[in-house]
């Protein structure tokens, strides 16, 4: 984990990766949970998880809101949430965010940065409701007889967002309801129109609505009754002008799926770049790029200062100072050059010996340093951001080892706002050239199909962002595929950055002893037993244990509860018990075959010349232990077990002892 200082560096030219993330994390995400409080939401039913416990949809919805808050706060400590309930008769307190919203809409928690006390409050509410399932009904008395017009709900959401969310944030409303026809009865047409209109207003204010419709066997949710005419296509599936209608995935058939569905939408969809994809000269379409796999790191620590009654976050600022006067250099006076190298005192015949290495004397009228713009152009080679196709190759040409970093995912964009900028510094004028490429989708779609059909990948040169460096990459098509669990593998192209010659390391080991076919077959047996036949690497099964360990401590500390390391379960650990049960005997057979293998017992390694006793560390620990007890082999043991071999014999023995004690 990088300390904060490093994090906050202003260096703009060196680490584009750094900027990738800082660019996003500086952005707040705001979620307003708008939860229906109708009688149906409060209707008690058996808890599916616990026996003899009653629960209701509202409870589940609030619980999901709490869980999402807890998850979000860890990823984005500046993110904000709020909770609004509708169809309740509870009155808003005067003065707050909800003071003047529409009737029968109640602001339970106004939009604020997620905060431990707020989450605790919600937890307490939920705890009380566990004790007494009817308490939610008393806390939020449902509106009986009629329902709030959905238009009012959207308007209220708009106002709450307006009052509570920073302008630059990404803003979303999670709408949770089980009522498929909220405004039935006379005037429905009018109310539908008004709902649609107010929803449009929301969208225009930059607020997305993500609906979660609860559907049960007894009470199926029929979207055509009301919502399909109200929701905008892009509300449902947030993509540009998306012509498809409501997707199944937002209709939650089991209330337990609510949280899972919310987790999918936990992070707002953000594009990393929006650039042209040049298939050939003058054959260009627009694409947006996303990072679908990005390492989620622990939060970085910050510096705080005690200002008496509370702790305040300390801001930081990085400046550059010269070596001689220790004065701050103004940004516009900074120029770029090569490190001057270190001074070797004695041999240095230079007069300004004390200064060489840190200063360079330049005649007044000449120039030896580069400007920032020049320096940047050396990285980009003067290219503009774009992905330029170079041609196609067989799919098999992309080898396993041609990898250096995570991939990106591109998806066509009919209206990429691709801006080409040039500065006119003196006049503070920015010239922009914005380009739209209509027809991008059909072209992209055809491209994916052709590549997939012919089993090809693309090779391209890409400059993904203005301050990054060009890379060669493989374009791997992905055709769309529906998977279980409501998650569709979307159509698109994965961009896999390829290593440069500079990134490729030579193999340091050129030869080794090989196994016989018999030994191979023996290994095959236990490998077969431990193979998941239709499996693959399952990311979903492996939550990052170190991150969870950190976050649980953070959470415990925030809620002033205890963190018990004993309770922590690391699910990434291999299930060795099952492995031994399935394949233990086969592994044992393989081990004994290995022990009897002729090649394995060679003691004279061909290229060493010197005879030495081979450490057969594939042997069982028990045998080595006996060697150890004989007082020999300390050094070999250390070497064989990847322990340091430096030091005196006593040190070695200590190390061996430590190792054996620990294992």
């Amino acid at each position: 984990m990088a300390p904060y200082d490093e994090w906050n560096r202003v260096d703009d030219e060196e680490d584009d990766e750094l900027q990738d993330t800082s660019f996003f994390e500086s952005k707040k995400d705001v979620i307003l949970f708008a939860i229906d409080c109708s009688i149906s939401m409060l209707e008690l039913h058996e808890d599916p998880k616990y026996e003899d416990v009653k629960t209701c949809h509202l409870f589940t919805a609030l619980e999901a809101a709490m869980e999402i808050s807890k998850r979000k706060v860890i990823v984005g400590p500046n993110d904000a949430v709020g909770i609004m309930l509708f169809n309740t008769t509870r009155k808003n307190d005067s003065g707050g965010q909800g003071a003047d919203i529409k009737q029968n809409n109640f602001v339970y928690q106004p939009i604020t940065t997620i905060d431990a006390p707020k989450v605790s409050e919600l937890m307490k509410l939920l705890d009380d409701a566990r004790e007494d399932p009817s308490s939610l009904r008393t806390t939020f008395p449902p509106l009986v007889g009629h329902r709030v017009p959905m238009g009012d709900v959207f308007t209220s959401c708009n106002w709450i967002m307006r009052d509570g969310a920073p302008k630059t944030a990404s803003k979303r409303v999670f709408l949770i309801t089980d009522v498929d026809d909220p405004n039935a009865g006379p005037g429905k047409e009018r109310l539908m129109t008004s709902a649609r209109t107010t929803l449009i207003d929301l969208t225009q204010a930059g607020i997305m609505v993500e609906p979660f419709f609860i559907s049960t066997e007894d009470k199926p949710f029929d979207q055509t009754k009301f919502y399909s005419s109200v929701l905008l296509p892009n509300n449902v599936n947030d993509d540009e002008g998306d012509p498809s209608v409501l997707l199944e995935s937002i209709s939650i058939t089991r209330i337990d799926d609510l949280l899972a569905q919310m987790k999918f939408r936990e992070v707002p969809k953000r594009a990393l770049f929006s650039i042209p994809l040049e298939l050939a000269s003058e054959f260009v379409i627009g694409v947006k790029g996303y990072g679908l796999v990005t390492e989620q790191k622990k939060g970085t620590y910050r510096y705080f200062v005690d200002v008496g009654h509370k702790m305040e976050l300390a801001g930081s600022r990085t400046t550059y100072v010269d070596n001689i006067e220790e004065d701050e250099a103004m940004n516009d006076s900074i120029v770029y050059g090569m490190a001057l190298g270190e001074t070797l005192g004695a041999e240095e015949a230079d007069d300004e010996r004390d200064m060489s290495g840190t200063t360079r004397a330049v005649s007044a009228f000449s120039r030896v340093f580069f400007t920032q713009d020049e320096q940047k152009s050396f990285r980009t080679l003067g290219l503009e951001p774009r992905i330029k196709l170079l041609g196609f190759k067989d799919k098999t040409e992309l080898s396993f080892e041609d990898n250096v970093k995570h991939s990106y995912f591109i998806y066509p964009d009919e209206m990429a706002r691709i801006l080409i900028r040039s500065y006119n510094l003196g006049l503070h004028v920015t010239n922009r050239l914005s380009q739209a490429y209509s027809g991008s989708k059909r072209t992209f779609s055809a491209l994916i199909k052709s590549m997939a059909k012919k089993e090809k990948i693309g090779i391209a040169l890409a400059l993904m962002r203005r301050n990054s460096a060009p890379v060669f990459c493989a374009l791997v098509p992905q055709e769309e595929k529906a998977e279980e669990g409501g998650w569709n593998e979307p159509a698109g192209i994965h961009i896999i950055p390829l290593p440069f010659a500079d990134d490729i390391r030579a193999a340091p080991v050129q030869e080794g002893l090989r196994a016989s076919d018999d030994l191979r077959d023996s290994a095959l047996k236990w490998i077969d037993k431990l193979t998941v036949k239709n499996g693959s690497y399952p990311p979903d099964s492996y939550p990052n244990p170190a991150l969870a360990y950190h976050n649980e401590q953070l959470e415990a500390s925030a809620f002033r509860t205890d963190f018990n390391p004993e309770d922590f379960e690391d699910v990434t650990l291999p299930n060795t018990a099952a492995m031994h049960k399935r394949a233990g005997s086969l592994m044992k057979e393989w081990l004994s075959a290995l022990r009897q293998d002729e090649t394995a017992n060679i003691v004279d390694l061909p290229d060493r010349g010197k005879k030495r006793k081979a450490v057969n560390s594939a042997q069982t620990e028990g045998e080595v232990r006996s060697f150890y007890e004989q007082g020999t082999l300390a050094k070999e043991f250390c070497r064989g077990h990847s322990l340091a071999v430096s030091g005196k014999k006593a040190d070695l023995l200590d190390r061996v002892q430590e190792y054996l004690a620990a294992n």
Binding site: Y301, S316, E401, V404, S434, T443, K449
Partner: protein, 857 residues
Amino acid sequence: MAERAGYTVTMFLIDVSASMGETRDVELPDAPNGDKRTIEMTNLEWSLQYVKLKIQEMIYNGRKTDQCGVILFGSEETENMIHDRDGGYDHVKEFIPICHPNAGTLAKLSTLKASTQTGDPVDAIIVGIETQDTYLAKKKTWTRKMVVLTDAQNPIETEDWEATAKKMSDLGIMLIVVGIDFDDENIEFEQEDKPHMKRINEQFFHEFASKLESAVVGNCEYVLDEVSRPDAKQVKSALMGHELRMGDPVNHPDEGIVLQVKASKCTALARPKSWKKFAKVQKKDKDGDATTLTQVDDNGVEKVLFSELNRRTEYYLDKDDDEEDAPKPAPADKDDDMDVDVDTQKDVDPDKINRLDKEDLIRGFKYGASFVPCPDGSFARLPTKKGIDICGFFPAKNFKREQAIGEVQYIWADPNSPANQVALSSIVKALCNRKRMAIARWVSKDGMDPKMGVLHPIEFDNVDCLLWVQMPFADDVRKYSFASLDNLISKNGEKITKHPYIPTNAQQDAMDNFVEAMDLMEAGEKDDDGNRLSWFDTRLSYNPAIHRTKQAQFHGAVVQDLNTHPLPPPHWELLKYFNPPRRTLKRAHSAIEDCKQSFNVKQVPKRVTRARKDGHVHTNDDDEMLLLDQLPKPTIKSSQPARSQTAFSQRTSLSPTSNKKQPAKKLDDDSETESEGEAEAMLLDETPAVATTKRAPPSDVDMLMTPARSVSPTPPEQEVDPGRVPGRIVGLTNPLVDFRRNLDAGDIVTKAVEDMGWAITEIINRPFSRRRTKEMIECLKAMRYTSKNEDEVDAWNNFLEDLRHTCVEEEPGNKDFWSQVQKVGREISLISHDETKLKAGKPQGVPESRAVDFIQS
């Protein structure tokens, strides 16, 4: 490759005889205007570039054991160890003793001038051998190199040279002769009118070199080109010890498997060497006035001192504690500015900051708005045990290549242990045999955070190993949803098969041909058997950023003035994969043309010039800002709060007040969330579906394509060339025509009205707008008529109030235009109840009296 990095002494023997002072014209990169440029320099200056670049390389690599010394021949003075001892060896001077070079070394070389003497290269070679050998007396294993720089114009004493050559061979010295205007086959160079003496001397050097184990003679021009050729440093990574485990060897000692393995990097991301920041050293006097620090060198030339800059981080308490929420005035042009190049540094108002001592700060984490102290900067770490644990196996065909997230590592069996080698080999062979891969958990050191990844078997010619790559944790995968490209479903739930988003069969055929034609599998060079290889090889693809940056850094360090010695263009080797191979392009020409025709991708470029927000703020966005501004600025006009109320009160149609928010949002919201882009797309989509369908009964396609509402992608203050600003359906050139056409075509009225209002405001705010007054009045009339009849009463009324405000109260305003509007009178004023009450529903608009008053005031 066998060479050990570092542990090298290179002797540079430089000819400074009078003849080296002859000048030549050297080509420079073309001037910005495309003119050819040349610079005149002496042969000495020119050839010294080679030495300097070589020395710069040593500085760059920073190895202390990479050393060099410089000896001159043909110098005025004589000063060398053999002369001191035995005499002779005249005009040979030890110029820079052997050391690890630094910038001072380069500076010193720059002072060299041709002398009035002549010198003998063989003398210099002998002095060089002796100097190097003395220095390396106790460092027998070091590599010895020698570089001779000469024009070979002066007599060489060739007697007994074989003995010298033998001595060099014995010592294993590698020789490079860099000859000025030497004939060289590599660049097909042959000097015309070569002097006889030079011809003989060149022959001598070739003969001399042929007697050595390792020697080359090269033309200076060729060598200078080669020196800028990218060269990937071959790095063999260190082998790191590890345990590869299967099962639980502790509790099941007879079944659990532990192999001793070594991991080494297979790929490692290399980055361009960082630049150092420099600035002129400023000396501050007592009054705080700064003067640039200068010094005068030996020749009396005044020089400015540039100092390397160091980073310093200051901490402060921002009294304005509303850190992120504070409305920032600036980011108007940042909306999709990926390069946040202005950097993350906040502009801090010096009056507002309290500097803090780092010692007073407490480390901790933010938990939302709460502070969680953590003095160590890290909580207790997950206890882990070093090693690679295999968790299971799966068929390799199911591997998701795109999920690999890091560098690749080799995993070798311990090279000293036959048993481990055989054991690993059997596993690798088994995995290859069944086409399987393994899932594994990697802990690099006890207590380090685990990583998950996969192991891929690989059988090399003489050794088997595994390759590791990290895979994402659940936390690392983003499951964004994307609209289906194929399954377009109408509102009625029917699948749509014909749509501008779906390629037709003809288009698909064109793309198939394109993919075929652009195939690279046989587009590369021919191999020894005459078969074409595939084009593009990662092993030959140099990172252009690294090598170009290095070239620039070297150049800047070596030349005296970038103005007279601009950076040469990048080496061609860096750019060889920047364009598809010409053969392929030629072959694909017709396929490409077909695709262009068939797909008809329309490009809509608009050149837009906009003033920065810090210039002046246009009148209309002031208003627009307010609606979204939760903290209205004190300068609001009294009518505003009322209006923001109406904006959100019930409406049955889209009021322009809400539309007004768009530009404001645009300015403020620079988030890259999806919401923005898509609305634009809908709007600007130029598919015929939108343009031709009638408004009344929407067909399926129409419903799908309905642009609904749009967020304008361009801020309102933009000026455009003819035509429309993206996102606006009414242009500035001919607004009335656009407006009517849009109404006829059935576009949403609200949008047309809104954009008409925008266009009018925009036009009357421009210089020389008077000549369009009449046209604008016509526009107003049309807009009002539509507003009244199409339920856009509020839109009109709000617009008109804004317009008056803009004309009368803002600067520069357009009072003249407003008075023209007033002349039209009541019929162009606000729409009143009386005018709307005939229609069904609640009457809209303002009281009649207000409408009358408004236009007169």
